[in-house]
């Protein structure tokens, strides 16, 4: 049975809104030209492709199915009463839980233990892991060649799938994607090859080894890192939808109506932006915790609670971050309302709201677009910092911030446990770098000053 959490609904709404936005802007000439510029830029297409891969993972992680069997057999932990499509795809690495830490690609545990050998004598020894490398009889000799073999097989399949994709594209377009004039498509296809190669190798290795090791309770770190993608995306994207309506409506109103409306709105955003953001978030999250502690009947499962907290965090981040865009839009609207076409519309008796909708809004959309992509990466980074101070997502939610938070103590262990930190670093860095590069290209394309 399908179940939906609040953030899932928001994710789907966002995907639909994004598709609608793409469809709508493809019909408007003044938006189609800059987007065309984005799709012609190699950096833009490569980063967009990477972002889309991340988004796909996030969407897969938002389709949830109630999992009675899993619950009955005690297979899933208490806080995950539902399984997402992503969980089902990742079943091999989700369910192979070791006892405690293990290195990436290790076949033995992280620390020595008393192990009974075949003669019944106990020895102080690194015990074999339950799952990783258990298919090998003599891991010390066989492991390297086995890993190499598995990578080769995975890569081969990936290349085959990729070639098939090329064939499909060639069939549809009537010419192959490497032709000189299709710069964007070429970049997209090469990026997909890189993604496929990584996926192929990882998919073939993951059932036999813990590619990124395991954490304190033996959970696969790769699984945690992949599950964190959704949290990062939700924070980045959901905050934007909370913030956009406030920023756009207030910004346009302040600039267009001026007078007391302007005064009130200016007062509002000066007040809000004068409160240090972190403190406001901290205060709000503290209050939410008090509320949740006193109303336990509203949040029956841990999953509900964690989800509510994620949603709340997005809302608070949205409330604290609309002021910048609002200020920008107000200034731009002040300029636009003096334009000839707006004065003409007013002289012709067009209603105020109509003017705002038809003449002002379309002319500030580029600012909105630039702000949305620029803010996204900052929000993903902010999540990590907030989770570190314990005012971010719920500790039971998979997130890069929580992974970094726990790995702080692991860095002090001897030998150090570096793989949790490394995994969260690589995943977060890839997403944020792609978002930043994409934001740069979008800004260059939409910023009217950059075109001169």
């Amino acid at each position: 049975m399908l179940t939906l959490l609040w953030t899932d609904i928001a994710v789907f709404a966002l995907v639909i809104a994004g598709m609608y936005g793409a469809w709508a802007s493809s019909k408007k000439e003044h938006l189609r030209r800059p987007w065309g510029q984005v799709f012609e830029s190699t950096v833009g297409v490569v980063s967009l492709t990477v972002l889309l891969v991340f988004i796909l993972v996030g969407v897969l992680d938002s389709v949830r199915i109630q999992h009675h069997d899993a619950l009955a057999s005690g297979e899933v932990s208490e806080h995950a009463k539902t399984l997402s499509l992503l969980d089902i795809v990742l079943t091999p690495i989700r369910t192979r839980v070791e006892k405690t830490y293990s290195m990436p690609f290790a076949h033995t545990a992280y620390a020595k233990e008393m192990v009974a050998d075949s003669n019944g004598q106990s020895q102080w020894h690194y015990p074999r892991l339950v799952f990783a490398g258990s298919h090998l009889a003599y891991p010390a000799v066989e492991k390297t060649s086995d890993i190499g073999h598995k990578i080769l097989m995975g890569v081969a399949v990936a290349v085959l799938v990729w070639l098939l994709l090329i064939l499909c594209i060639t069939g549809i377009r009537g010419q192959h994607p490497f032709k000189q004039d299709a710069n964007g498509l070429k970049a997209c296809v090469w990026t997909l090859l890189a993604v496929f190669l990584l996926l192929g190798a990882a998919a073939n290795l993951a059932p036999y080894y813990h590619i990124l090791g395991t954490d304190k309770v033996g959970e696969d770190v790769l699984y945690q890192a992949i599950k964190s993608i959704r949290t990062g995306l939700v924070i980045g994207a959901l905050t934007t939808i909370v913030m956009l309506p406030i920023a756009i409506s207030l910004g346009l109103m302040a600039g267009f109506f001026r007078g007391w409306v302007d005064d009130v709105i200016q007062y509002l955003y000066t007040t809000l932006s004068s409160i240090p953001g972190v403190l406001l978030i901290a205060a709000a999250i503290l209050m939410a915790q008090v509320y949740m502690a006193n109303n336990p009947e509203l949040f029956t499962t841990l999953e509900d609670r964690a989800d509510m907290r994620l949603l709340l965090l997005c809302m608070i981040l949205g409330v604290t971050s609309w002021t910048g865009l609002c200020r920008l839009l107000r200034a731009e609207t002040l300029k636009i309302r003096e334009m000839d076409y707006v004065i003409a519309a007013q002289a012709l008796g067009v209603k105020q709201l109509q003017i705002l909708k038809r003449h002002v809004l379309p002319n500030v959309m580029h600012l909105v677009m630039i702000t949305v992509v620029l803010d996204f990466s900052g929000l993903v980074l902010a999540e990590a910092v907030l989770s570190y101070i314990n005012i971010g997502v719920d500790p039971s939610t998979y997130s890069w911030g929580n992974m970094i938070n726990t790995s702080r103590l692991e860095m002090a262990r001897e030998p150090i446990v570096w793989w949790s930190l490394a995994a969260s670093f690589v995943f977060m860095f890839t997403l944020v770098l792609a978002a930043n590069l994409f934001a740069d290209v979008v800004r260059d394309a939409f910023d009217p000053r950059a075109n001169n």
């Binding site: 403190l279 406001l280 503290l286 005012i391 860095m411 930043n436």
Partner: protein, 325 residues
């Protein structure tokens, strides 16, 4: 000028009132003091007597906005809103929930914060300007392209990683500086080197890009072309004209954050165990000390507004074209 400053100062008041009402609603209306007491005392099965006791100790046992039991002005003044919020305006921050004087704590803890924040700001701005000028000087070359890519890369790394990596490599492996801690007086130097260094590196990506756009904007102006036509060398133009004129937005940008330096950096201070205001706030958040968080929210807003005011004034000082009246 004086007139303008006075008017601006008057405008500060309604904003502070707004901040105050917002924090009051957040801290006392969304959750009643009873809720806070139960949360603090831990269990759901706390007796009402314990809750009342907790509230009485901290002065939360008054009505929120209107006290019916008192006479005259005391009807309004013997309330939580008046005692806890209005006091903030005269910087009577009161005592924290565990009974310490907040003002005394703050005046003691702001020095370590400043010891980190001021060198970070000065050296950070110098480093940013230097690299930005380099990028401008080598405009259009592979050096610029590479530099910009490094900037984006640096921007894409979470600040937490800089701290963890810095502590691990410089503090633990090379043992050049202590990993964390603080000592008063001159001994503080060895403790603040690492946080300052990490602060500079962490801000380099976005900082260099920001200063570069400022310089680029300046370099696109007509007087630069004129200077070039007159035969000035690129270096001369860069330092004598572009840098000098771009200093106006740079300076005013710095002035905004000057007052906020007191607040310290939450993350840096708590990672390095520096007893400044940042770690004070973090501790208050994690021990759920509402009185301290409320005071810090108020103080932060106040300093931010002062920063805005100073910015406007500094405009008139560095840019003769701007007149405030």
């Amino acid at each position: 000028m004086i007139n303008y400053i006075l008017r601006r100062l008057l405008y500060v008041l309604p904003v502070l009132v707004g901040v105050n009402i917002l924090t009051f609603v957040l801290f006392f209306v969304v959750n009643t003091p009873d809720d806070m007491a139960r949360m603090q005392l831990g269990d759901k099965h706390v007796s009402q007597a314990a809750v009342d006791n907790w509230k009485a100790q901290r002065g939360y046992d008054l009505p929120l906005l209107w006290n019916e039991e008192e006479e005259g002005f005391a009807k309004a003044s013997k309330t939580i809103f008046f005692e806890k919020s209005v006091g903030l305006f005269v910087f009577d921050l009161g005592t924290s929930d565990n009974g310490r004087d907040i003002i005394a704590d703050i005046s003691q803890r702001m020095w370590p914060s400043l010891a980190i924040a001021i060198p970070s700001l000065i050296f950070g701005v110098l480093a940013n300007i230097t690299f930005a000028l380099l990028l401008i000087f080598y405009r259009g070359s592979y050096l610029e392209f590479g530099g910009l890519f490094i900037c984006i890369t640096l921007m894409s790394i979470s600040g937490l990683f800089y701290i963890i990596a810095g502590q691990y490599f410089i503090g633990k492996l090379l043992v050049l500086t202590p990993i964390s801690g603080y000592a008063p007086g001159m001994d503080a130097v060895k403790f603040i080197i690492l946080p300052v260094l990490i602060g500079i590196v962490g801000g380099l990506g976005s900082g260099v890009r920001w200063y570069r756009t400022l310089f680029l904007e300046e370099a696109a102006k007509d007087y630069v072309r004129t200077a070039k036509a007159k035969g000035l060398s690129d270096l001369q133009i860069l330092f004598k004209h572009v840098l000098k004129n771009a200093l106006i937005p740079i300076l005013t940008g710095i002035v905004v954050i000057l007052p906020l330096l007191f607040m310290g950096s939450l993350i840096t201070e708590s990672f390095f165990g520096i007893p400044g205001l940042g770690s004070y706030t973090i501790d208050a958040i994690s021990s759920q000390d509402f009185a301290i968080v409320r005071s810090m929210v108020f103080l932060g807003s106040f300093l931010y507004i002062i920063g805005l005011l100073l910015t406007d004034i500094s405009y008139t000082l560095v840019d003769p074209r701007v007149r405030l009246d």
